[in-house]
């Protein structure tokens, strides 16, 4: 009996370990929100400076080596990798980088938002299939007044060397974004809502009535049937298995 008790204790101990530090082993990948300056692709890590993309070889994970530096215009803000292509959001442009040689990214295109659509601003990019979705936030103009020129912009990226704007949708103060299936979630700080768009037809994106009220939402991560949304005051976890009824499961307070 004592032996049994002892081995149960050992088993429990191991369980406790695995819950915690051993629960993520080499090879299990994770994901960032949409607002970040770091990205991993295969054996490489990309890091954004204000006007430069750095590439690190991380084959020796503990000791990365800076192998490539690519200059860009000032204003790089976010990076995401989708289907072997890098997308950068900057204050003025959407960059698409060819990483067929991941050790040395090459600029495939740079869409100037100001000349294309009359907006300048920042913010992240989410990519699905042949379309890229980017929020653009302009809080203040030079006169210090609130500008209405914030938007969700949809790019057709069939030709990655020449993306075409196929839609712009007005927003208040948008931040991070992400999607599940044919639904795009956008954190809109200005309206204090997590907006939900139907992107079944990317050229005709439709705002749905499934929005969730969140004070000052900042960024999100979609993970299967769950979604985590960060805000200025907390982190909320949602069940998104039924988009028409997004349920709040729990939260982490600040």
């Amino acid at each position: 009996m004592k032996k049994l008790l002892f081995s149960t204790c050992i088993a429990l101990l191991c369980f406790a370990c695995s819950e915690d530090s051993v629960s993520y082993l080499e090879g299990i990948s994770g994901k960032s929100g949409s607002i970040t300056r770091f990205a991993i692709y295969q054996d490489y890590m990309y890091l954004l400076n204000l006007n430069e993309v750095q590439t690190y070889d991380i084959k020796q994970k503990e000791h990365p080596v800076l192998v490539h530096q690519m200059p860009t215009d000032y204003g790089l803000e976010t990076i995401t990798v989708y289907d072997g292509t890098v997308f950068l959001g900057s204050t003025t442009s959407l960059y698409i980088l060819d990483i067929s040689n991941p050790a040395a990214p090459v600029i495939q295109s740079q869409s100037d938002r100001i000349s294309d659509i009359g907006f300048s601003g920042c913010d992240p990019v989410a990519v699905k299939g042949n379309y890229a979705y980017s929020t653009i936030k302009v809080i203040e103009n030079a006169c210090g007044t609130i500008s209405a020129a914030s938007a969700l912009v949809v790019y057709d990226i069939h030709d990655k060397s020449a993306p075409v704007v196929v839609g712009t949708y007005a927003l208040n103060i948008p931040n991070g974004l992400g999607y599940k299936d044919n639904y795009l979630f956008v954190c809109d700080e200005g309206s204090d809502e997590l907006l939900v768009y139907d992107i079944t037809d990317p050229t005709h994106v439709v705002l749905t009535a499934y929005a969730v009220s969140i004070t000052d939402p900042y960024d999100l991560i979609v993970d299967g049937q769950k979604m985590i949304v960060s805000s200025k005051t907390d982190f909320q976890i949602f069940d998104i298995s039924d988009i028409t009824q997004i349920k709040r499961l729990g939260q982490i307070s600040k």
């Binding site: 915690d20 530090s21 990948s29 770091f38 204000l50 769950k226 729990g250």
Partner: protein, 176 residues
């Protein structure tokens, strides 16, 4: 870009002013000044007891572990397996951090001008495996702020905050 240009412009004017000995008024009034962390303290990367989260940033989800960046301070780690009862597991102190990513058991973070590589196989005993110095160009002006500010003096350390201050002869100004 604009900030840099103006900084350069003002610096040039300062230079010209000193060369020609013409008197030049700089900016006086309410503005922002940098809060510095001595560079020696950047190396103080370690576990600390879990704390409430301040100004947050980048999120990273690994299985049921949610890593949350706290600006300039470090990374909070939560187990969110049970959404109703999330567990605050650990805090990694990483001075001057603004962003990070995780691959395998390694965490890559910026820390002022350095890239720091940290082994997190044991969440309660993290270890720095490497530090690549002077590769990151930190932002040297107060974010989301229009007005005058005290220019950053990098010899004083890493900027970890900006505080309101009554400035005299401030040489820097942001225009968004």
């Amino acid at each position: 870009m604009i900030h840099k240009l103006i900084y350069v412009f003002v610096s040039c004017m300062a230079l010209c002013a000193s060369c020609t000995k013409t008197e030049r008024e700089f900016y006086d009034g309410q503005g922002k000044k940098p809060v510095y962390l001595p560079l020696s303290e950047l190396h103080d990367v370690k576990n600390e007891p879990p704390t409430p989260i301040g100004l947050s940033g980048t999120l990273f989800l690994r299985d049921t572990l949610l890593f949350i960046l706290e600006q300039r301070k470090g990374i909070h780690v939560f187990n969110i397996k049970d959404s109703l009862n999330t567990l605050n597991l650990a805090f990694f102190k990483i001075p001057a951090i603004t962003d990070f990513v995780i691959s395998g058991n390694l965490l890559y973070a910026d820390s002022w001008k350095d890239l720091v590589i940290i082994d997190i196989s044991n969440l309660h005993q993290i270890q720095v495996t490497d530090r690549i110095v002077d590769v990151i160009s930190p932002v040297l002006y107060p974010p989301l702020f229009n007005g005058i500010y005290e220019c950053v003096d990098e010899s004083k350390g890493a900027v970890i905050n900006w505080e309101d201050a009554l400035l005299e002869d401030a040489k820097c100004v942001t225009i968004n």
